[in-house]
Symmetry: C2
Subunit: 136 residues, 2 copies
Amino acid sequence: MWETFVQHQSVEEIMNDKGLAKIGDAIVNLCYSLAKSKVLGNATGDKVKDSILARAIRATEVYRHISHRTDSGKAADAYEAIVAYLWMKERITVQEIVENLVQTLQIDSKTNRKREEVIAAQSFQHFLEQHITLLP
Amino acid sequence: MWETFVQHQSVEEIMNDKGLAKIGDAIVNLCYSLAKSKVLGNATGDKVKDSILARAIRATEVYRHISHRTDSGKAADAYEAIVAYLWMKERITVQEIVENLVQTLQIDSKTNRKREEVIAAQSFQHFLEQHITLLP
């Protein structure tokens, strides 16, 4: 269904696709909201800040494909574009992303926001590391 | 997978579930971004404003279940909660929502923002009207 939008030949091409990043932004927010709901046991949601995704991607080997220095916004866009690519290529489903995040999202109703952000970044890093081999 | 979060007995209960609304917010943004990408032929995305979803839900018969006057934020939350409910109950998939929106999303690269918002509200209204019977 989305094949025409994901004809990229390289990781660099994916990470620079601003359109994919916009779609990925919504996928990331959806998956994080669902993962958090599952962990806490009640429906809830959150927008995932750029700083969280930037921290996650900078900790992975994918990041070396971004040659020049990037700000948090651009690093987060790169993460989001990768997620959109994997989903639109049907390499991964929303349910699978959620299940992967849940594995490492060790928060509870008392976890403060700062701590949650650190843990969320680790979960997103873990997810990306597990799926790097699915990228071109 | 999400059954425990969607045990609601009535539409009113769904529309007042703030947690569901947060999840629905991400689903709505994802589906609109995908529908817009499909219509325009290139990957792109947009956050759907509260005013668009408020206009959509107020034009449907579901709205009479909101007894008191509501602002745009609350009306949009009600719309988002309904979408999350339908998706989490597995009554509808992301692909199906996108295909439904695409049917009426008559925009092109030259459509200005104001006009796009009017058309988007009509598409979301159309979607809801088509799925009212799936609600409790």
